[in-house]
Structures are given as C-alpha cells and as structure tokens.
C-alpha cells in the first residue's frame, strides 16, 4: 500500500489548474503587451499619442482579470468545489504573493527609470534595457511561482514571457522580417492561449455542471 500524503495534497491543489483559466489569463496578459506593437506594425495604432497604446493593453487586462475572477467563481468552484489548504500550502502562497509584489515593484521602478531615459536605447542587440529586465524578471518570477504553486505549465509560460518582448526588438533591429511583433506574439501568447482554451474546453466536458452538485453541498448529510 502506498499512500503519499504530500503527493495527495499536491494532486488536490493541482486539480484547480485543470480549468485552464490561469492559462487563458496569462495568455491574454502577454497578448496585451504585444497587441499595441502588432497594431502599430499594421499602422492601426498611432504612437504619437500615448492614450491608445495604453488603452489597448488596459482593455485586454481588464477582460483577462474579469475572466479569471468570474471564471473561478462561476465555472470552476461549482464544478470542483471549495477547499481550504493547510499551513504548508498557505506558506507557499505567501511566497508567491511576495514574488508578485517584488515583481510589480521592479516593473514600476523600471518604468519610471525609462521615462527619465536612464537606460541606453537599444544598444548593439536592439533590445531596450527595460525589455531585457522584463524578460529576465518574467523568467525568474514565473519559474519560482511555478515551483511554489506546483504549476508545471508555468515553466513553459515563463520562457515564452521572457523571450516575447526582447525577441521582438531583436528581430526588428537585426532582421528584415515584415511583421516581427505578430510573428513573435503568435508563437508566445498564441500557444498559451491555445493550451488554455483546450484545457478549458476539456475541463467543461469532463466536469459538466450537474444541478444535483449544487444541491449536494446543501444536503451533504
């Protein structure tokens, strides 16, 4: 008889990644970074004003956030139920929150430093320093999050996030590809969104919402 309680807890926690909602959320976030660049390549976005390049990501981020919040509440919870995990899991989640706070702080500091033109523009590689910082930060933060959350797919997403912006600027500077942003984000945000949608659809078919499930919680005894 083999009963590994640590693995059982991990399995229970990981079951909440079966819904694909985090995947779609992350895919949309990455898309929000790339879409202004893609629209600019097609001359659909005027970079003269700062409003539109900011408005596009904000709209996508809002959609992603709403999808995640309402998706977890109205799609996942009625199908998978509610669970409160133990102390070790809560400690791991505290690490994740701390990482996110540090990540946001680095992002904000980098943004303001780039506004004051502290960083050199591009250099030989064509990759602006803030985007290089973004890439390294994404790789580290998402990898650690994947480790603490036992969310294996997040390692792949860390890599895709990390290469997205630096690679776009590198391609722009060093190649004559027609639509580098479209190309890069099709191969970075695209797979995350596709995986997310597949996992999400599979989740909906595997865990159909049964009326009696709602009643089950009410009449558990």
């Amino acid at each position: 008889m083999k009963l590994n309680f640590k693995a059982l807890e991990k399995r229970a926690y990981r079951s909440f990644f079966k819904d694909g909602i985090y995947d779609v959320f992350l895919g949309l976030i990455l898309l929000s970074f790339g879409l202004p660049l893609i629209l600019n390549e097609f001359s659909l976005l005027d970079y003269v004003t700062i409003t539109m390049p900011l408005l596009v990501p904000i709209i996508i981020l809002a959609v992603a956030l709403l999808f995640m919040i309402f998706g977890k509440k109205y799609i996942t919870t009625p199908r998978l139920g509610t669970v409160h995990f133990g102390k070790s899991r809560k400690r791991k989640m505290m690490h994740v929150k701390l990482l996110l706070v540090i990540s946001v702080l680095i992002g904000v500091i980098t943004f303001f430093l780039s506004l004051f033109k502290v960083f050199p523009v591009g250099g030989a590689t064509g990759i602006p320093i803030p985007f290089l910082i973004f890439g390294i930060q994404a790789l580290l933060v998402f990898s650690f999050m994947a480790y603490f959350m036992d969310f294996t797919r997040l390692y792949l997403y860390a890599l895709l996030f990390a290469v997205s912006l630096p690679l776009t600027f590198w391609l722009k500077k060093n190649t004559s590809l027609p639509y580098p942003s479209l190309l890069v984000f099709s191969f970075t945000a695209g797979p995350i969104l596709i995986i997310g949608c597949i996992v999400f659809i599979r989740f909906l078919t595997r865990f159909p919402l049964k009326k009696e499930l709602g009643v089950a919680n009410e009449q558990a005894k």
Binding site: L80, T82, V83, H84, F85, A216, E218, Q219, K221
Partner: protein, 111 residues
C-alpha cells in the same frame, strides 16, 4: 500483547485491532483527503474521490458518528454550504491505522 504473542507469526489477533471505520476503502480515501487539507466541501470530495452523492453522504455520516470528521453547515451569501474537516481524533486514528497496516504488511510472510 505479550512478547511471546508478538513474535508469534500465527497470532492473528492484531487484525482485530484494525480500525474498521477507516479500513473501508471509500472512508480511507475520504479521511486521507481531509487529512491533507484544512477543510473541503462536499463537491470537492466528490470530484476528487469519484464517489456518488449518496455513497459519499453515507460514508461521511459514518465518519461523523465515529467522531473522525466534522460537518459544518455555513452560508455563502444566502446559500447553505457544507464544509468538512478532519478531527484530531480522526487524524490520530488515521496515523495509528497506517502504522498498524504497515506493520501488518511488513510482517506478512509468503508461504
């Protein structure tokens, strides 16, 4: 148990010491899941363990009777919601059950 009977490979009285409340596979699965979380609701256990609603209800009632599980009714908004958690007694007895079973399996001798 005397030293002599402990070493006696034909003494099967140890089997009588097995906790029957936990020994039933469905109940073992329930209590194992509840031991790794702080609390969980009925749907969570149903999806994780794969038991039917009636089956799960029956076994939970049994575990509650033995004092191994606490069933708490609460409200989320206006809807009633049932949360389940393992008691200290349940956790302790699960540990003892696993220890007994391990010793028993380890002591089995193939003929």
């Amino acid at each position: 148990m005397s030293k002599r009977s402990r070493n006696d490979s034909t003494d099967l009285s140890v089997l009588l010491g097995i906790d029957k409340a936990i020994h039933e596979p469905a109940r073992l699965m329930i209590i194992a899941y509840l031991s790794v979380v702080e609390s969980a609701d009925f749907i969570f256990l149903m999806t994780q363990i794969g038991l039917t609603q009636g089956n799960l209800s029956f076994h939970l009632s049994k575990l509650e009777e033995f004092g191994y599980v606490v069933i708490k009714k609460q409200f989320i908004g206006k809807r009633p919601h049932t949360m389940l958690s393992i008691t200290d007694k349940g956790r302790q007895n699960l540990k003892e059950y696993l220890k007994t079973m391990k010793n028993l399996i380890d002591s089995l001798v193939e003929s």
